[in-house]
């Protein structure tokens, strides 16, 4: 029975690309596309002062790796139309009395106009610009007027980044993608396969054979459990080769955790298949759950900074547990006692969802 299932899976031509090709494409595409790192922010400079002071300021921006000066002009409306036409992300507007005010009034201002449709990007643009301008202030004070650049009592702040000193976003993203991959294979393939049999009427045929219910289910689920585990191993190898994915913690622990996690995922897949009649219906239900689970699990943005109600919802979101644990083990080298709460929660979850699914699954339906 088990060998038959495996054979059937591999005979289906669609399955093979899904199991082998799709993950690779996903891992490469997602990791590179899903970058929130900023570089090459397109800036238009409207320098109406054209003085030494303003030029020094502009050179601060052109020297920064974050900014690309796309255009320089003296007409503000022209700059604004570039913002509207997506040719620029930010306008640096220096008015014509910039230098004079800096000397006479000892204080001057400049305007920064940011396209804020993407709010987080706009926040970063603002932060980077402020940094550059602060550095400029210090320079002006120190070099031109010989003042203490720090301006009074100020401790030196020394940042250090652990586990990822180069702040490489890719390894974080990649570990998240492994979660998506394992979940996708476990949930969609299991559920689709079971519903397909139902739709085609072959489940009825199995039902009249002397095979017991649990034998049937185990034979149906086990192949996907194994494939998903294989998928994780495959993904780890790809990650190691392509992105130098760190594996600080114990891989055995990771696989142990994945085994339990997959029980939950397969249980959900089985459960969803019992409440759907057609593949189309099922696909929509699964798509809906997958998208919600994955977005809420913190794949792109940390789950810790979500609102409280979302964190409560995440208690029943298995992907949230796995997302947290895979990163803890791979990137930080967490040990069993660090993840024991997640481990036992998922174990209970697995028992609950599997029994619910099995009860719901009537051999006779």
């Amino acid at each position: 029975m088990l060998t038959k299932e495996f054979k059937q899976i591999f005979r289906n031509k669609v399955m093979i690309p899904i199991i082998f090709v799709v993950p690779v494409v996903q891992m490469i595409l997602l990791t590179y596309a899903a970058s929130l790192e900023m570089k090459g922010i397109k800036m238009v400079v409207v320098d109406q002062d054209l003085s030494q002071a303003s030029r020094l300021l502009v050179s601060g921006f052109s020297g920064s790796p974050f900014f690309d000066i796309a255009h320089s002009t003296t007409s503000y409306p022209e700059a604004e139309s570039m913002l509207a036409g997506d040719k620029a992300d930010v306008i640096l507007h220096i008015q014509n009395n910039f230098e004079k005010r800096l000397y006479v009034e000892k204080q001057t201002d400049l305007q920064l106009v940011v396209n804020a449709i993407n709010a987080s990007e706009a926040g970063l643009i603002n932060a980077y610009s402020t940094q550059i301008i602060q550095a400029y202030n210090k320079d002006v004070r120190a070099e031109w007027f010989g003042l203490d650049a720090r301006g009074g009592m100020m401790p030196q702040i020394k940042p250090s980044f652990w586990y990822n000193p180069l702040l490489d976003y890719k390894i974080y993203m990649f570990s998240g993608i492994l979660v998506i991959l394992v979940t996708l294979i476990g949930m969609i393939l299991t559920a689709l396969n079971l519903v397909r049999e139902k739709e085609m009427g072959t489940t009825e045929q199995i039902n009249v054979t002397p095979i017991r219910k649990y034998q049937f289910l185990v034979a149906k689920l086990l192949p996907f459990w194994i494939i998903a585990l294989f998928e994780l191993a495959f993904g780890l190898v790809v990650g190691r080769l392509l992105y130098d994915l760190p594996m600080v913690g114990s891989l055995g622990l990771l696989f142990l955790f994945t085994c339990v996690y997959l029980l939950v995922v397969l249980g959900i897949g089985l459960f969803l298949s019992t409440i759907s009649n057609t593949q189309q219906q099922l696909m929509f239900v699964v798509f809906f759950f997958m998208l919600t689970f994955i977005l809420m699990s913190g794949v792109f943005t940390p789950a810790d900074s979500m609102p409280l109600w979302a964190q409560k919802v995440n208690l029943i979101n298995p992907a949230a547990y796995f997302m947290r644990v895979i990163r803890m083990i791979l990137l930080k080298g967490s040990e069993f006692r660090d993840i024991s709460r997640e481990f036992f929660s998922l174990l209970v979850y697995a028992v609950l969802i599997l029994s619910l699914a099995v009860i719901n699954y009537r051999k006779t339906t």
Partner: protein, 361 residues
């Protein structure tokens, strides 16, 4: 066609999801998927315990971004705290902090961040540094800082910097693609798989009429969904429609037609529902989410991916929606994108018709 409607409405579950999906997604993107810094757990290792360090610590936790994760006493505890995920940042005040600060201004603070999540680590670090700097700056108020340049920032198109602005256009692109392309391709393939397509083709109806009959209900469904998203965005998150609503509707119409013709094209080449589904899901949904500028800005991608995004219809649609809805620009700013979408639509229709004819022979 009436039959097709009945077919859709009979399946309540799919219907609920069809209409529920935009609602859930907009709530998720509006509230949950935020890149904001909030309640970051910070551990404190204060080796000095003097007035300056205690006050600085208080300042950190009263800023609203950080919550205490405990006080440390040894270096090794930092790693333990990070590994168990109980803290994201540890602030270390050196011994004799206040003395060093007052004596020769040589005090230092170490900010150690768990950078396994590079993005939020960097953000937390920047915020924390900002809080500390502005606190110590405030201690020096008696010293005037002359010759300084002040920045006045203006946030165009999104004054309050709400994250949801970014997602509304992308959600429209995704959901319309999902319903139009995916649903039609799967529905038509289903008829093929069960052999009922042959029956329809043998009837006196022309192939064109059959396809139109299959497709029309989805046009309406998609349209209702597009309206739902705009309305929800407006009512719940106050996302305005700055430009012309008619132009926006017209753009939606064009995009829906494109998605439908794509769906028909997929159905002409797929033999089973599973194939149609996977082509639609992986070939359409994934790029729609990833390569359209929906979540991740195209400008940050590697050149080759940026190049690929040019053949992704959602990319152009998102630009159009952003321009009309959020920037309020007129036709002058979107004619190029519209023309590209129109060209793609014609191409898909022609290809679908051609394949359909081949199959009939």
């Amino acid at each position: 066609m009436k039959k097709e409607f009945q077919h859709i409405f009979r399946d309540v579950r799919t219907l609920v999801i069809l209409f529920g999906l935009p609602i859930v997604m907009i709530v998720l993107f509006g509230y949950v998927v935020t890149t904001e810094i909030k309640d970051v757990e910070v551990g404190i290792w204060d080796r000095s315990m003097d007035q300056a360090s205690i006050q600085a610590t208080q300042k950190i936790f009263s800023s609203g971004y950080f919550v205490p994760a405990g006080y440390l006493e040894r270096e090794e505890e930092i790693g333990e705290l990070f590994r168990s995920g109980r803290a994201k940042v540890v602030v270390v005040f050196e011994a004799d902090f206040e003395k060093n600060l007052k004596r020769d201004n040589s005090a230092s603070i170490r900010l150690i961040t768990d950078a396994s999540d590079a993005n939020s680590a960097q953000m937390a670090q920047t915020y924390l540094q900002g809080v500390l700097m502005s606190y110590f700056q405030s201690l020096n108020q008696d010293i005037q800082l002359p010759w300084s340049v002040e920045v006045k920032s203006r946030m165009f198109y999104n004054e309050e910097m709400k994250g949801v602005y970014m997602f509304v256009p992308g959600l429209m692109a995704m959901i319309l693609m999902l319903i139009s392309a995916l649903m039609t391709s799967v529905t038509i393939t289903r008829e093929k798989e069960f052999g009922t397509m042959e029956l329809l083709l043998a009837s006196p109806l022309k192939p064109r009429e059959i396809i139109l009959g299959k497709v029309t209900p989805y046009i309406l469904l998609s349209f209702v969904n597009a309206l739902t998203i705009i309305l929800l965005g407006f009512l719940v998150f106050k996302v305005p429609v700055v430009g012309s609503i008619w132009l926006l509707m017209l753009a939606c119409m064009l995009y829906i037609t494109l998605a439908l013709s794509l769906g028909v094209l997929i159905s002409t080449s797929a033999k089973t529902q599973q194939v149609a589904m996977f082509i639609s899901l992986l070939g359409l949904m994934l790029p729609t989410i990833l390569l359209s500028g929906f979540i991740f800005p195209i400008d940050n991608m590697p050149k080759i991916l940026q190049w690929i995004t040019h053949i992704m219809p959602p990319r152009w649609f998102i630009v159009i929606v952003k321009n009309i809805m959020l920037k309020g620009t007129g036709f002058a700013y979107i004619w190029k994108e519209s023309l590209i979408l129109l060209g793609m639509t014609l191409f898909f229709i022609l290809a679908a018709v051609k394949r359909f004819k081949i199959r009939l022979q």
